[in-house]
Amino acid sequence: MDLAYLILQVVVFPGLLFTAVVGLITSWIDRKVTARVQMRVGPPFLQPFYDVLKLMIKETCVPAGASRGLFLSAPLFGMAGAALASMLIWRAFLPLGQTFSGDIIVILYLLTIPAVSVILGSFASRNPLASLGGSREMKLLLAYELPFVLAMLVPVIQTHSIRLSSLLAAEPAVYAPSGIIALVVAILCMQAKLTLVPFDAPEAETELAGGAYIEYSGPPLAMFKLTRAMMLFTMPMFLIAVFCGGIVFSEGWLAVVCGILKYVGLVVVIVLIRNTAPRIRIDHAVKFFWGPVTVFVLVAVILAFMGW
């Protein structure tokens, strides 16, 4: 494949630039729906773009004694991981035939990189509150990763393939009982992966004052905000790709609109969970994911093996 074409795919469409813009629009949907739930008017449409632009012109503070290189490069790793994951998902949606066997596993790995970058950045900043946030993020990562991977196993068992495009071509996983259970579990894990309420203990505004991000300012903070927005776009996209048949571009505009509606619906579900639940303690979150959620998803895996 032409190298320039590949670079274009990574940087512009469907990689970094596209994901960032749609991610920021999604974060506006998040803030607007939150505002409506609280009977407010909410921010204007361009607000997330203004926020990123403003952070770009601010000064970058590096705390005394921090590991400078890691502190400043951690946001870049996270952004790269989110952009690459989104690119791989969209390459399966677009009728380009550019998928490879095992791309689901690659995406699963890439989707953990933003969380790892938050952990690295918070430990590099030499702030006690940040390292507390980082350790919580690490525990949360260990907690949700097991049920998340098990949930992804269900459609893989149903279709006997670890290629995203064959999952998209097959009957969507949610048509089977095991797929519905796996989707519910995956939505819970997605909430934790995005560190949104009720699983926002790593950045707890009230007790950790921003937690893992506390020492970040200016452009690196903008990159973290952008990464969060990109993950808010990538994660629901991944779930509808794996469970709900994704966005189909080869069958006319109605199928595309249907795909976008699936995505927006999933985003609204995330926002509603985030607005109606209180924050739970980190040990409760770990118990929750390793206990009932894992048992629940194991039932789904067994059902999938039995062909349900």
Binding site: Y50, I57, Y213
Partner: protein
Amino acid sequence: MSLAVNALTKSLWVFHLAGSPCNNCDIEILDTLTPKYDLERFGILLVGSVRHADLILLSGAFNKKAVIRAKRVYDQAPKPIVVVAIGGCACTGGIFRDGYNFDPPIGKYIPINAYLPGCPPKPEAMILAIVKLIEKLKAG
């Protein structure tokens, strides 16, 4: 520079620094951030860390010990930063101005962009102050 000012005034993130206040101004500040006034319409958000802040709100009569800490917090904030003194105590020392532990007003230590007197100022007065401040910043 105009782009910078435009972006800054469209997305002011507020950090609230209380220097031994009586809490009345703090309660009014929190009132201003409630859904009734909905400052997120203008991009104003409350943040927990001064590293994320664009606007520092000072409340209370900063005494000799608090002044040092306030100066340190101001130095930790990323520039450009805007500072507003909320309430009579932060502006002049208020009824504590003759106290044995009271230094010159906080404005002697930190450059302050706007003073908002009142005991405490109403949320409407705070919004008016922010609007005037944004106009002043846009005018240069």
